[in-house]
């Protein structure tokens, strides 16, 4: 935020300095006295088209002052440029407003996402509770324990024993599988 203010200040300074530079360029290079001449035109009597058609060196009078058209325009720009310096505060406020809007959008999105995700987690919790009920049921625990023991015995069993164990394993598998499917479908 502080950094942004610096940028803003810098931008405003650029604007003002740019205005001044523009005002100077509008005045144009120093005009040799010999080229300035002709009748002094009262600015109030000119049409827009006539004013635009005047050369930069044309003498005009404005509120009693006589100057070239270029000098007059430079004076106008300079006055406005000075006024623009006061825009800095407004520009800073604008920048702050948009920064706040950006932060607000991000905050609202995060909050909304968290609230809605919480509802999904609640649904997940229900499912997990059902699974836990099955996992804790005495019959499932007993069958699971027997299955684990059977696997351990099978690893070191003889061929004859393996055939017996395989038969029992098949029964255990079917029983456990049915309980698991039933448990998840609830």
């Amino acid at each position: 935020m502080h950094g942004r203010s610096k940028v803003l200040n810098f931008s405003a300074a650029l604007i003002v300095s740019g205005m001044c530079a523009f005002a100077l360029s509008a005045a144009g290079p120093a005009v040799p006295q010999a080229t300035i001449g002709g009748p002094v035109l009262k600015i109030e009597t000119l049409t827009k088209a006539q004013f635009r058609a005047l050369s930069p060196n044309q003498l005009i009078s404005y509120k009693g002052q006589v100057m070239t058209k270029a000098a007059f325009m430079a004076q106008r720009f300079a006055a406005w440029s000075k006024n623009q310096a006061t825009m800095q505060e407004s520009l800073q406020k604008l920048h702050a407003k948009f920064a706040a809007a950006q932060a607000d959008l991000a905050h609202r999105q995060r909050a909304d996402l968290a609230a809605r995700n919480a509802k999904v987690l609640a649904e997940l919790s229900k499912f997990q509770q059902q699974a836990a009920l099955l996992a804790q049921s005495p019959s499932y625990v007993a069958l699971s324990r027997e299955a684990a023991q059977l696997v351990a015995r099978y690893a070191v069993a003889s061929s004859a024993e393996k055939a017996q164990l395989k038969l029992r394993a098949s029964q255990l598998y079917n029983q456990l599988r049915q309980m698991e499917l039933k448990g998840e479908s609830q």
Binding site: S11, I15, G18, M19, F22, S25, I43, E44, T47, K48, F51, R52, F72, M73, R76, W80, Q84, M87, S90, L91, L94, H95, K97, F98, A101, L105, A106, Q109, L113, R116, N117, V120, L121, E123, L124, Q128, A131, A132, L134, A135, Q136, Y140, V141, S144, R145, A147, A148, Q149, L150, V151, Y154, K166, A169, L172, Y173, L176, R177, E180, G183, E184
Partner: protein
Amino acid sequence: MFGPSAMVRAMLRCGALLATVFICLTLFAGAGAAATSTAALSAIASAQLCGIVGCQKPPAPVITLLNPASVVQPGGAVLLRGTNFMDANGNFGKAVLILSPPASTGAGFVSRNPWTVSGVASFGTQYPLENLRWGDTAVYGTIPANIAGVTDQLATFEILRSDGSTSSPFTPQGVQFYATRTFAVLPMSDVQVKCSQAADQNQCNGWADYSPPLPLATWYPYETGFSVHTAFLTKESGDDLYGVALKNGWIVIQIVQIVVPDCGNGQQEVHPMVPQVTWDMGWIADPNPADPGMEGQLGCYVSFGISGPFGVPWK
């Protein structure tokens, strides 16, 4: 991350040492809480017997329901229900969200992952769900939070089981996906301007009927419209129109005009919330104003705050 055999071995250890599947569940659930690893969502003690009984490959997984509470947007949690999500050994797979690229970037867009949906070759991008909890009839996961460059659209989910079997897309018609929104100030380069030429000298953004124009367009990045009108002779007034028609789901959410005397149409801030807007910046330039310092020339500023899908162009 649990590989297929590691999963079975872990289950065996649990079976032998702790003798309760419930404790296994607790351990697996705890292991995958924060990362993208997969955790068991259901009791799968039967799987440890597959090495002995030779479990057959189950039919292809089928997604039957997306829990209505699911949040189909980046970072959102989803809960899919169905059948045969696990292979015969109780191993997990992947659940993916499939999105299409923005329509406006279709020309020249190269898909990261060509994908086949319902047997028809199409080009979408797969986003594997994270933080998975996996059961044979349910999968919970979160959509990656960093998805960018996609618009709101109809998306599909698929289950890619560890044995290579894949579900059909859910739903065939697609489910509504909402992209993450971001905020920006519309730059001067992206606004259409109709500049009044009623004053003696007139400038709107980079255009002017005098030369050289004030070069503010490149200096100040927070402005959408900048009008300068100079009246040397008599009081003049006009209206500058700043318009935009945003694309790809972007809308103008805020228009702010800096308060300057004789600028604007009386409104300083509005919230249009639409993609297409034309802002009328009325102005009065008076060479002989009551307010000293404003003689004959004024500059008016307006900014458009816009919001749209993250990483997607607005034009």
